[in-house]
């Protein structure tokens, strides 16, 4: 019988120092806060975090940064309100920041999950964010070569799962989560509810189970 459901701390098993971790969410919406807290307790360090933002306040992603476990942040928009931790780390030169246009970030992750090595995009052509990258003219427009961005681990937040790992999301908390779920060697999903196999309509499943390795239910014992 396939069952991917585990406890929170067991879900972090095997995450090594230096891992690249894809973290879902747009601001706090869809951010897997409980998994991030479990990762902080797990203590793996020198992490490379891939996320849209750089965390807010002192919980979730911000807590991981504040604990000094993150070497590099690859993101599109760290400058959100209340981004106090990442602001301080950046000002003090304590974090390596790679800024990526949001659509390029999403597509690099999608490419990794879809077996595409790299792609050309018009986004950022001729700007500072294209410096050092191959540029070529396609159809009369400048394009930038962007490479797939794989994760060792993806931490995603969904609304419901079955024990096989099929996932559905709540509203726009979907954002990066289904894309990141496809792109990591180990995908861990936190969910509000686990339903019986067959309890999700095949038409509504957003992330098919093949992409998911571990499921943790919020509120279940750590």
């Amino acid at each position: 019988m396939i069952s991917k459901q585990v406890a929170f701390d067991a879900a972090m098993s095997g995450i090594a120092d230096g891992s690249t971790v894809l973290v879902g969410g747009f601001g706090n919406s869809g951010e897997p806060i409980e998994l991030l807290e479990a990762l902080r307790r797990h203590g793996a360090k020198d992490l490379v975090i891939v996320a849209n933002n750089g965390g807010t306040g002192h919980s979730g992603l911000a807590a991981l940064l504040e604990a000094g476990l993150v070497r590099k942040l690859i993101c599109s928009y760290p400058r959100t309100s209340d981004a106090v931790v990442v602001e301080r780390l950046y000002r003090d030169g304590l974090i390596d920041l790679e800024l990526v246009p949001q659509g390029t970030l999403a597509e690099r992750i999608r490419a990794a999950g879809a077996g595409i090595g790299a792609f050309y995009t018009p986004t950022a052509a001729g700007t500072r964010l294209a410096e050092g990258k191959e540029e070529r003219v396609i159809g009369g427009r400048g394009h930038v070569l962007e490479h797939a961005l794989h994760g060792d681990v993806a931490l995603v937040k969904a609304d419901r799962a079955d024990r096989w790992g099929n996932l559905v999301y709540h509203r726009a908390a979907r954002n990066y989560n289904p894309v990141m779920a496809t792109a990591a060697a180990l995908t861990i999903a936190q969910v509000r509810e686990v339903v019986a196999v067959g309890g999700l309509d095949p038409e509504e499943i957003v992330t098919p189970s093949v992409y998911v390795d571990r499921i943790v239910q919020i509120g279940a014992p750590a």
Partner: protein, 218 residues
């Protein structure tokens, strides 16, 4: 009398055609969701995976997974669709967005846009979806104060700050005027009530034309 930025947002909204698909960027542009002309069906796109975004809602009624680009709680209109981030930006890059409304630090007379980094070495930069939108939307409208608080211009000869995209901006809606960008440079096509053209020119770092309808008056 200049427009408030809410009035400038409403003025911009008047120019969004029936049936258009419009992305609202972070900052002032998200105000437009609250001031669409009644009776006109305009589909608002938000980069976090919403097509059919509705007006803002009070925090007490918020579903914090229904938010705009600035993380403000909003509503969904009947017929709204939700999709993941890669799809959201495929829509943007793929040319499916008619108008993107963005903020700006600087716009050059050629329509170059700078809006992601103040480049001071200390402030966090934040590109977000701006480069994708500037590259992919058919039209880029800027909604912004005309000048900085110290009176220095945002519309300039050449951008000093790092660029978001070249030649992207087609319209600039400010508290003072509506400005069209074209091959001949920027032209004022409408002034806020009782704002003299000379005041707008004084707060602009490049020469403006003044077009009143089809007739050039300056």
């Amino acid at each position: 009398m200049s427009w408030t930025m809410a009035q400038a947002a409403a003025r911009l909204a008047q120019d969004l055609p029936e049936g258009s698909v419009v992305n609202l960027g972070i900052g002032l542009p998200t105000l437009i969701a609250d001031v669409l002309p009644p009776g006109r069906e305009i589909l608002l796109h938000s980069e976090n995976g919403i097509l059919g975004l509705g007006p803002g809602v009070p925090k007490t009624e918020a579903d914090w997974d229904v938010i705009d680009a600035g993380k403000r709680p909003v509503s969904l209109v009947p017929g709204a669709a939700i999709f993941h981030h890669a799809d959201s930006f495929a829509m943007i890059r793929g040319g499916h967005i008619d108008v993107a409304v963005l903020g700006a630090y600087e716009v050059s007379r050629a329509g170059d846009l700078a809006n992601w980094s103040v480049d001071d070495g200390a402030s966090l930069p934040g590109v977000g979806g701006a480069m994708d939108l500037a590259a992919g939307a058919r039209q880029v409208y800027v909604l912004s104060r005309h000048a900085r608080p110290d009176g220095s211009p945002k519309i300039v000869e050449e951008c000093a700050l790092p660029l978001t995209a070249r030649g992207a901006v087609t319209r600039f809606y400010s508290d003072l005027a509506v400005i069209q960008f074209g091959e001949a440079g920027p032209s004022v096509i409408e002034l806020a009530p009782q704002v003299p053209f000379g005041d707008v020119q004084r707060l602009t770092g490049t020469k403006l034309a003044h077009v009143d309808g089809e007739r050039s008056v300056c």
